[in-house]
Every structure is written in structure tokens, then in C-alpha cells.
């Protein structure tokens, strides 16, 4: 049996409502909202957060491959998957692959992972689908459409939750939405043509074809999880096949989180799973220059997984961006003052155990734990006795300050000294904390990788802490 053995999803904390967009442009009304990445997030950091929500540290480090699906990789040339594998302490032997250029890339990465396991080239593949910053031009009609989010799936043979029974891939070039190589904003032309000749035609063909090939009827599926760029097209398609809106159809969640690109089919899938029982069939379909359609069967391992997920909790863990202008600033819609931050690619490389991987150093002689790249133990003064150790990703604020003059789209920048559970102390920024009043000595925090700045025109990822909201 080959299938999905673990899921993790990640949505950024912040939301932007259609009403806020309309108010900014002097237009009336507006319904729904979308998830928007914070100023220090991108597809790589969100992907990492999804991975941490998917597997334990042991599980992550056992992965033999990491496939990263995104239309918004931080790089044109340089593998985001390899950088993630480095941060996650995967073996250098782990295969890494970036797949992109379409919201369909998430399911394509999943199928590629299934094939790798089937071909016995590896036992566990981590598939990360993440998009952040698929943007409409400010003031455009689709400004509330695209949201930010991520999902991570583990693919393997053991403890399979969803067993892949069938799949069907359909490729069909069609200019629905596109971004050219240097575009910051999404492009589109006619809105009706791609709905009719794109989504409707392609999805009817691909879902129709897999039903014909597998001899399933629409009523055979407990859940039908079909991605869509807009809600009306989705409703029309569902009607066409006669899926039952009450029991079968998974809400595309567009009005709650926006359209998440590569991650969207997987976030919908996780949202659907709490109503699935072992033995149920689930249909999953993506869309983008064609479609991938997958049919899964839930196994006896599903109930244990269902206990761990709280999709509504995930969807409801949110806060509105304070202003539309800040949203624009978060996504670099206007130019911030240039800061000539110091950095060095050699320093980044040699210090990556401590600063990228968050591995502590524990002194073999006296047990002192450091989060700095030191040679001599400050406690016992012995040289070269530090051994790498995993640090906990939870901790408590020991002391803090809030900087109003550090350049940030959302001042103040909170800096906190954090005592990590199980030892080690780190001093770093606090993120996802737009209300400085909640910060207190003794508050519990979680560690998360975020982008600090872009010295040398490279995203600089390092750890921040964030409040544990409940």
C-alpha cells in the first residue's frame, strides 16, 4: 500500500477582508476574506511551518526526499527544497526537487512522490506545497482572490492514512491566470472565457475520464475535494456531476482563506477528512493548465490522525491585518527604505548548524548549552567540547524589549530572551504579534523560521518566537 502517511497544514495568522480592500479604494461592500502572509513570511517559511505541523523531528529527519511545490519560490535559480532540507536537518543523501509554475504543482509533486516510493527509490518522501505572494495589482478586481498558505504531506508505505487507488492526469494549455518570469502581479485577460473553456471544460473532461476508467459513480465518494479559482465555476462543476452539496462536496474555503495555489487542494483535503471513515473513497482534483485527479481510500489509520487535526481551529486562529496599507507593505507593493544589512555567504554557511538548523551546542565537559557558534565553553572554559543537540521549539520569555526605531512594516519589533524547554537560551524577534501589549515576562512561545532581511539580495532565514494563541 502506498499513500499519504501524515499531513500538516499551515495558514498565516493574518487575514485581509474584501471589505478592507474596497474601503481602501472607495468602493462599497465586499464579502469574505483571505489568509495573508506576514511581512516575514514567504513560501519557504510557510512550507517549513507545515512540515513541523506534519511530522515529529524524528519523522522529518527520516525523510529520504523533499519535493517543494510552489509558484512563488523565493528563488528563480537555487533550490528552495534543498534549503528546507538543510534547515530540517535531512540527510545530504535526501533527494530534493522544486516543482512549480502552476497551482497544479502540489498534486503533481504528490504523484511524483508516490511514483518514487512505488519504484523503491525511497521509503518516505516529504511533499511540501506552499504559496505566498500570488498578488493582484492593487486596485484590481481579483485583489481578494489569492491567499497564502502551505501544506506538507508524507508519502510512504507504512501507516498509510489515505491509500492512493487511482489517478488521472490531464494536460491542456490554457491562459487562465499567468505570471511571466519577472512579474510581481498576476495577469489575466477575459474572465469568462477561461471559466467556460478552461475550468469547466478541463475539469469535466478529467473527472469524467477517471470515473469512466475506474467505473466509479459520483455517489461512490464520501468526499469530493476539487480546487477552483472561483466559487461559481466550482458550483457549476459539482452540479454537472450531481455531487451532493450536503454530504459530499468539500467547501473550497475561498471566502475564508482565499485561493492558496499549490497548497489549496491539500488544505481542502485535510478540512474534508474529519467526516471520512475508514474504507471511504475520496476524490481529489487540482486545476492549472490541466488537472490531476486522485482517488484515495481511507484506511484504519485515519481515526488516529483525525484526533490530531483541528481544521476549524486552524482556520479560526486568525487576526485581521490592521490596515490595507500594511498588507501592501508586507508584500512589498511599495519600496521600503533600503537597509544595507551586513551579511556574508561564508558566515551563513559555516554557522548553519546553530542559526539555520537551531541545533544547540552542549558542552561534553560541563553540560552548558549554547545557541551561539562558540568554540570555548563560557562556563568551564574548555575548548571544542560542544556537541550538537536538538533544542525544543517551545520556550518561555525571560525578558524582552520592543523597538520602535528598527525598520519594520509593523513596529514595534519585539525582541525577547527565550529560555527553551529542556535547556538553551536564545534572543530573537517575536513575530505574529501585532499587539505589543500581550508580551509579558513568563509568556509561552513557539519557535518558527522567518525571514529577517534580504542582505546580499538573499533571503535570510533565522528563528523567531511567536505567541502561542489558544
Amino acid at each position: 500500500m502506498i499513500g499519504i502517511t501524515a499531513f500538516g497544514t499551515y495558514l498565516p495568522r493574518y487575514r485581509l477582508t474584501a471589505r478592507m480592500i474596497n474601503e481602501a479604494w472607495g468602493r462599497p461592500g465586499g464579502r469574505g476574506e483571505k489568509a495573508v502572509g506576514y511581512f516575514d513570511e514567504d513560501s519557504l517559511t510557510m512550507g517549513l511551518s507545515a512540515v513541523y505541523n506534519c511530522l515529529s523531528r524524528d519523522g522529518i529527519e527520516k525523510a529520504e526526499a523533499l519535493y517543494f511545490a510552489s509558484t512563488t519560490s523565493p528563488y528563480r535559480e537555487k533550490l528552495a527544497s534543498t534549503e528546507m532540507a538543510m534547515i530540517l536537518s535531512l540527510s545530504p543523501e535526501a533527494r530534493t526537487l522544486d516543482i512549480g509554475n502552476s497551482p497544479r504543482a502540489g498534486t503533481s509533486a504528490l504523484l511524483t512522490a508516490m511514483e518514487a516510493v512505488k519504484a523503491n527509490s525511497c521509503d518516505t518522501v516529504l511533499v511540501v506545497a506552499s504559496d505566498c505572494g500570488r498578488l493582484e495589482r492593487p486596485g484590481g478586481q481579483n485583489e481578494a482572490t489569492w491567499g497564502d498558505g502551505a501544506a506538507a504531506l508524507a508519502v510512504g508505505r507504512e501507516n498509510v492514512i489515505l491509500n492512493l487507488l487511482h489517478h488521472y492526469c490531464h494536460s491542456d494549455e490554457l491562459s487562465h491566470f499567468w505570471r511571466r518570469a519577472d512579474d510581481h502581479y498576476m495577469k489575466y485577460e477575459d474572465m469568462r472565457f477561461p471559466q467556460v473553456m478552461g475550468y469547466a471544460r478541463i475539469m469535466e473532461a478529467s473527472i469524467g475520464n477517471i470515473l469512466r476508467k475506474t467505473q466509479y459513480n459520483p455517489a461512490d465518494f464520501a468526499k469530493v475535494v476539487v480546487d477552483t479559482p472561483d466559487i461559481r465555476s466550482h458550483q457549476a462543476l459539482m452540479r454537472k456531476f450531481g455531487f451532493d452539496p450536503k454530504t459530499q462536496i468539500q467547501d473550497p474555503l475561498l471566502g475564508r482563506i482565499g485561493s492558496l495555489g499549490t497548497a489549496h487542494p491539500f488544505v481542502m483535503l485535510v478540512a474534508a477528512l474529519h467526516e471520512v471513515k475508514p474504507g471511504d473513497k475520496v476524490l481529489l482534483a487540482s486545476y492549472g493548465d490541466g488537472s490531476d485527479v486522485l482517488i484515495f481510500e481511507a484506511t484504519d489509520a485515519l481515526p488516529a490522525f483525525q484526533e490530531q487535526i483541528d481544521v476549524n481551529g486552524l482556520l479560526d486562529q486568525k487576526e485581521l491585518v490592521s490596515t490595507y496599507t500594511k498588507y501592501l507593505a508586507f508584500h512589498k507593493t511599495f519600496e521600503a527604505e533600503f537597509q544595507d544589512y551586513y551579511s556574508s555567504i561564508s558566515a551563513l554557511f559555516r554557522e548553519r548548524d546553530r542559526f539555520s538548523r537551531l541545533l544547540g551546542g552542549k558542552c561534553k565537559n560541563c553540560g552548558y548549552i549554547t545557541t551561539l557558534a562558540l568554540r570555548v565553553c563560557p562556563n568551564c572554559r574548555k575548548k571544542d567540547q560542544f556537541e550538537n543537540m536538538r533544542l525544543a521549539r517551545r520556550g518561555v520569555v525571560f525578558t524582552f524589549t520592543q523597538e520602535w526605531y528598527y525598520p519594520s512594516p509593523e513596529p514595534p519589533t519585539t525582541l525577547a530572551v527565550i529560555d527553551l524547554k529542556g535547556g538553551g537560551r536564545i534572543y530573537c524577534q517575536m513575530t505574529d504579534c501585532s499587539d505589543p501589549r500581550i508580551v509579558k515576562i513568563g509568556m509561552q512561545v513557539e519557535m518558527t523560521v522567518r525571514k529577517y532581511h534580504e542582505a546580499l539580495d538573499l533571503p535570510h532565514y533565522y528563528w523567531k518566537c511567536k505567541p502561542i494563541y489558544s
Binding site: 537597509q339 544595507d340 544589512y341 551586513y342 551579511s343 556574508s344 558566515a347 551563513l348 542559526f355 552548558y368 548549552i369 549554547t370 545557541t371 551561539l372 563560557p378 562556563n379 525571560f398 525578558t399 524582552f400 524589549t401 520592543q402 523597538e403 520602535w404 526605531y405 528598527y406 525598520p407 519594520s408 514595534p412 519589533t413 525582541l415 530572551v417 529560555d419 535547556g423 538553551g424 537560551r425 536564545i426 534572543y427 530573537c428 524577534q429 505589543p436 515576562i441 529577517y452 532581511h453 542582505a455 535570510h460 533565522y462
Partner: protein, 396 residues
């Protein structure tokens, strides 16, 4: 073996420029002013100095002026002698003074100069010290911080542990601004109402704008000789009772070191313990007549009251509330107005404090004179807290 400084060395001349936005003075102009004031008081000229130490903390705001001893030689006319640049963050001035003392104590030198200068205002404030902290340091460590934040984490912890309030920090600033009115070289010479200080914009919580020192230009200098020789230069000299310089941790380490408590400054505690022992001080609050302490940000002064033994641990807020550190109190602290009023041209501050104490010991501090001043201390902390310089001076 340790060499005792006590009563072996004397300051025979001291000089200081105005601490201000000296748009009309270059780095070298300021050094010339401060050094020649000290020379004139000591009755010497540049040719008499046989060793010199220059304190400048940061050079990137001043066309790199201050990066070596050469930058003291050229503007002051000191040639053919050893000159060393000293840089040790906010303790640079105290450190240069210490090296000058050691130069005399070793017997290598006879007439030495310790001078400090910092040119901050050839650039806008945001591009001087703030900029250096924000962009210049390690790509990750302490990233997000300005100089204020480095001290603010101590203030936050002190508030949590001892119940100190924002008001207490503001009282320190209020007192120092009040003192500054009477100091002709201070950048700010006006009383600021408590309300205004309390309501000034936050810089790095819990440090607000009026609890922060400004960016300032300035230079200061002292001429030192061995105590036995002092009278032949200037009958009105001041004696060095002790000098301590302690580096107790690193730049990044304290923030990442689980042993650190952030409620006091260990480098200051250790420096005080050793310097008091050298000077024979057993009861600081009753023996010391005045103190210049490092109030780059007001909470630092409050915490330092405790670390210098002026009051018990956690009692700093009572010490300021009860007015014990005011001009009329039992131990006037920062009678000069401190860094809050004078400003903080980093390399010049330490020697400016030594200049201040010297003037009080000489009875020449005019309207700000602390009566019967016999023993004074000058304290700097920097880097942000790893380095303390403590100098104790006494009347002969």
C-alpha cells in the same frame, strides 16, 4: 602581582569641548580644543607629552577619523611619540585613561595624555549609532535591536523582579536634566517636566525618548603625571585612587547565556568591588562625595545605584524617589547632567566624566560645585553591559 594605583598618579590638566551638535568643529578641531585646555592647565605643550592614548569608539560616522593614534597626532601636533587608539565601546575613555595610568606606573612615560573624541553629528542621528546597530552587526544575532534595546531588556527584568516603574526611570532623566542646567558644556540645559518625560515617545520599551541620551559631538582630555611630580605642573591636581576595567562577557553572549539574570550589571559589581578595595572605600554612600555614572539610558543609572553599592539590590527606585542622588542629596549622581543632558560622544564621555570629577575636587565647578568634594567616581558601562570602567579620584 597587582600594582596599586592609589595616590601614585595625578591629573594636572583637564579639558573638554562643549558637548553639542558641533557643526562648526571637525573631529580634529575638537581634539585640539580639549587637549590645549588640558595642556594650558598643566603648563605643558604638545612637545612635552611623551605618550598618548586616543579614545574613539566608532569611526564610520567621521570619515574614519579616530581609527588610529595618528588621528590625535595630526590635529594636536603630537609627533615622534607612541600614540595608541583605544576602542572599547562606551568604556573607551576610561580605558584610554587606564592605559595612560599604566604608562606612568610602568615608568616608561613621564607626561602622558589621554584624550577622547567622537564625531557623531556629521551624519543624521538615524545614520550614526542607530544605523550601526541595525545594519552593521551579525546577520542574525540581536537583529531587530538598537542600542536602547540592549539596555531595555535589563529595565524590563528589573521592573518584573523589583517592582520598578517607568516613572522611576523618568525620575532619573528628570534629575539629570535639572542638573544639566548648570553645566555650560552640556548639550541640553533645561529642566524637562516629569509629564513630558513620561509621555515622550517610546524608543525601546520601557525606554522612552527623554530617557535616552542624544547623539552628540565632543572631545575631552587629561594630562597625567606621577603624583610626586604633580606640584611642579599644577598645585591644584587630582589624585587617582583606583582604576578598574572589567570585561565580564561578550557582545552577543549575555543575551544567549542561561546564567544571565538581566537585573543587574555583573561587570559593574565586580569593578566596584575591586576599585573600592584599591581605594580603601568600605562605605560607598558615606565616603563618596559625587559620582558620574553611565546614564546613556535612564534605567542604567537606576540599576547602577545598586551595583555600585549606593543602595541595596532592588532598592534603586527608592534611592531615586527619595532624592538621594540629586545635587542636594547625600550622593549627587551626574551633577554634570549626565549623558542625558551632556550627550554621549562615545569616545569622549569617559574622560569628560574624569574632567568633571577633577573640577569638583579642585573646587572649580562653579555653580554646580558639590561642596567639600574630596572623593568622586566616574563609571562607564558599554558593549552593551560587558565592559565597565570605574575610576576613583580624590583631592590631594
Amino acid at each position: 602581582m597587582s600594582v596599586d594605583f592609589k595616590d601614585k598618579l595625578a591629573i594636572v590638566g583637564a579639558g573638554c569641548t562643549r558637548f553639542a551638535e558641533n557643526f562648526d568643529l571637525s573631529y580634529g578641531d575638537m581634539l585640539a580644543e580639549a587637549c590645549f585646555e588640558a595642556f594650558e592647565e598643566a603648563g605643558v605643550g604638545p612637545k612635552d607629552i611623551d605618550g598618548a592614548w586616543l579614545s574613539t569608539a566608532f569611526v564610520d560616522g567621521s570619515a574614519m577619523k579616530g581609527r588610529s593614534g595618528m588621528d590625535l597626532a595630526e590635529p594636536v601636533g603630537l609627533f615622534d611619540i607612541p600614540i595608541t587608539r583605544v576602542s572599547n565601546f562606551c568604556a573607551s575613555g576610561g580605558n584610554a585613561f587606564r592605559e595612560a595610568c599604566l604608562g606612568l606606573l610602568s615608568g616608561v612615560h613621564d607626561i602622558v595624555l589621554a584624550a577622547g573624541a567622537e564625531k557623531q553629528r556629521d551624519r543624521p542621528p538615524q545614520k550614526s549609532l542607530v544605523k550601526m546597530m541595525v545594519v552593521g552587526q551579525h546577520q542574525f544575532l540581536q537583529k531587530g535591536e538598537t542600542a536602547a534595546g540592549q539596555f531595555a531588556v535589563y529595565a524590563t527584568r528589573h521592573m518584573e523582579k523589583y517592582g520598578t516603574k517607568l516613572e522611576h526611570f523618568c525620575m532619573v532623566s528628570h534629575k539629570n536634566h535639572k542638573h544639566g542646567i548648570r553645566n555650560p558644556i552640556a548639550q541640553y540645559r533645561q529642566e524637562i517636566p516629569m509629564e513630558t518625560i513620561l509621555n515622550s515617545p517610546m524608543v525601546a520599551y520601557p525606554i522612552n525618548l527623554l530617557c535616552s541620551c542624544p547623539t552628540t559631538d565632543g572631545a575631552s582630555a587629561v594630562v597625567l603625571v606621577r603624583a610626586d611630580d604633580a606640584k611642579s605642573f599644577n598645585k591644584d591636581y587630582a589624585l587617582v585612587k583606583a582604576q578598574e576595567l572589567i570585561v565580564n562577557t561578550g557582545w552577543d553572549l549575555p543575551f544567549f547565556d542561561p546564567r544571565y539574570d538581566f537585573s543587574h550589571f555583573p561587570s559593574t559589581r565586580l569593578a566596584a568591588q575591586r576599585a573600592y578595595q584599591m581605594a580603601g572605600i568600605k562605605d560607598p554612600i558615606n565616603e563618596i562625595d559625587l559620582a558620574e555614572v553611565h546614564d546613556c539610558f535612564a534605567p542604567v543609572e537606576l540599576i547602577v545605584y545598586e551595583d555600585l553599592g549606593f543602595c541595596m539590590e532592588g532598592q534603586g527606585r527608592h534611592f531615586i524617589e527619595e532624592g538621594r542622588s540629586t545635587a542636594e542629596g547625600d550622593l549627587p549622581v551626574n551633577i554634570s547632567g549626565g549623558l542625558e543632558s551632556c550627550g554621549h560622544p562615545v569616545g569622549a564621555t569617559g574622560i569628560r566624566m574624569i574632567y568633571e570629577i577633577t573640577r569638583h575636587l579642585q573646587g572649580r565647578a562653579r555653580e554646580r560645585q558639590v561642596k567639600n568634594a574630596k572623593l568622586g567616581i566616574a563609571h562607564n558601562i558599554g558593549g552593551p553591559c560587558a565592559i565597565t570602567s570605574l575610576t576613583i579620584l580624590g583631592a590631594p
